[in-house]
């Protein structure tokens, strides 16, 4: 049986792992390669690295870091942040990443998704999206609007319409990262995650708000996520991955327990 994936997210700033709430007040958490190795040893199913300032600083991702991670762990990982061209994608994949994650720059240039999928295959192209709750149900039928540039800019685009377009263009996976839930550790955004998961044929990864193992049970059982991203709850040391997985297994959710 296909297991549900637990994916630690490492936000990278100047080659250090950092964590903030709603992209603010970031604190230093450690070395990305060491943390990746530790989480892989602990049984995470995949990892994601976001270079959170590459896009704003208009520079490309730290490829040495990607290669070092690829040497240190032998499980899949995705890399995002500042990927603007096919060349950027190619370099990240050749450094050993399994997937590239595009977000703001794909909203501005949706051809990035189609070209990436054509060149490298859909399985390599992840669309990350940062939706925020929006009351205008005429403009935003899903009830959520896409934001970009680390939640700083609204786009006027409906979250579900954008997810569908991205899948039509060849995105192989969608990460739904709720602006409202991000960093709160008060639970995932269930409603939109479920809406998107039931509307697209590709896997949907829930992100933002994980604080307890029970939140993960909710996002798998209620929102039908295929995978869930966690950050603060393990970065702080409050929970460890084996403990989370045991909890999920006891709740009847298929997870990988031997590694």
């Amino acid at each position: 049986m296909l297991t549900r994936r637990i994916i630690p997210c490492l936000d990278i700033h100047r080659r250090r792992v950092t964590k903030g709430v709603k992209f603010q007040n970031n604190i230093d958490l450690g070395d990305p390669v060491e943390m990746a190795a530790r989480y892989s040893d602990d049984g995470c199913d995949e990892l994601v690295f976001y270079d959170i300032t590459a896009s704003a600083e208009r520079r490309s991702i730290d490829l040495d870091m990607v290669l070092e991670v690829a040497r240190a762990i032998h499980i899949p990982f995705a890399v995002g942040g500042g990927i603007a061209t096919l060349d950027d994608m190619s370099r990240v994949l050749l450094a050993g990443a399994e997937k590239i994650s595009v977000n703001s720059l794909a909203v501005k240039n949706p051809a990035l998704i189609s070209e990436g999928a054509r060149a490298f295959g859909s399985q390599c192209v992840v669309l990350g999206m940062d939706p925020v709750r929006a009351d205008d149900r005429i403009q935003f039928p899903s009830g959520y609007e896409i934001t970009i540039r680390g939640f700083r800019e609204r786009t006027g685009r409906d979250a579900l319409a954008w997810a569908r377009e991205a899948v039509d263009r060849g995105a192989g996976e969608i990460v739904v990262n709720s602006v409202d839930a991000d960093g709160t550790r008060a639970g995932f955004e269930l409603e939109l995650t479920r809406l998107i998961s039931e509307s697209v044929g590709v896997p949907v990864v829930a992100s933002g708000g994980a604080g307890t193992p029970a939140h993960l049970v909710d996002v798998f059982n209620t929102a039908h996520a295929d995978a869930a991203i966690i950050a603060g709850m393990i970065h702080t040391g409050e929970y460890r991955i084996p403990q989370i997985k045991t909890y999920l297994a006891n709740a009847g959710i298929p997870v990988r327990l031997h590694w």
């Binding site: 049986m1 690829a70 499980i75 050993g96 399994e98 490298f120 295959g121 295929d226």
Partner: protein, 213 residues
């Protein structure tokens, strides 16, 4: 030395780094001379089947791969590399494969909306026969999969392990003499995947007698 065949079908870095972690010498190459000189050949690949087959033809590798497999050298197909050794692939409107394993490669047709295509993630592989590459690995262990199409060999004797997804039990590992072919990615399957590759790098290319029980 292991030759990792480069036919412009996806990213081979993680395969190379997995062997590097095992201190097994492996080189990424499209050179027939290097491939012929290797002790073992790994044939990976991700992406589209049609493009992969035309690349193989353009690089003159189709006959070479047939020759390598016929020579008895240990050969490991991974993911798309596994799919193109079949006779026929449904992808891209139908593609003729290299024809080293009788059978076809079919698209998942889920009836349950919760079964997504591609299958992405860790799924169990139940071994259906003994094989030296399984040494130290328990049947049912999870490996990492990323695929929309699955192998459907004609002969059950070619199947070494099976996996359940989207309403089908499909052959996730094939074994035929010196030929091994996995739908999963051992290079991305953590410690268990590395163990599998370590076993492959020590394997002489012979099968134990099939269990008739």
């Amino acid at each position: 030395m292991i030759a990792i065949v480069d036919y412009r079908a996806g990213n081979l870095t993680s395969v190379r780094l997995a062997f590097e972690a095992l201190s097994v010498e492996a080189t990424i190459t499209d050179s027939p001379a290097v491939i012929r000189a290797a002790d073992r050949v790994v044939f990976p690949g991700v992406g589209a089947a049609g493009a992969a087959m035309s690349n193989l033809q353009r690089l003159g590798l189709v006959d070479l791969l047939r020759e390598i497999v016929a020579s008895g050298k240990p050969f490991l197909g991974i993911c798309l590399g596994t799919q193109v050794v079949f006779d026929h692939l449904e992808e891209d409107g139908g593609v003729a494969g290299i024809g080293l394993i009788p059978g076809s490669v079919r698209r998942f047709q889920p009836t349950n909306r919760r079964d997504k295509v591609p299958q992405i993630g860790w799924n169990g592989v139940n071994f259906t026969r003994h094989h030296p590459v399984f040494d130290g690995i328990e049947s049912g262990s999870e490996f990492y999969f990323v695929h929309s199409y699955y192998p459907a060999p004609d002969l059950t004797g070619d199947v070494a392990g099976v996996t359940d997804y989207a309403g089908v039990t499909f052959a996730s590992i094939m074994a035929r003499n010196n030929l091994l072919a996995t739908q999963f990615h051992p290079e991305k399957s953590g410690r268990i995947g590395l163990r599998f590759l370590k076993n492959f790098s020590a394997w002489k290319g012979r099968l134990p007698e099939a269990c008739s029980c």
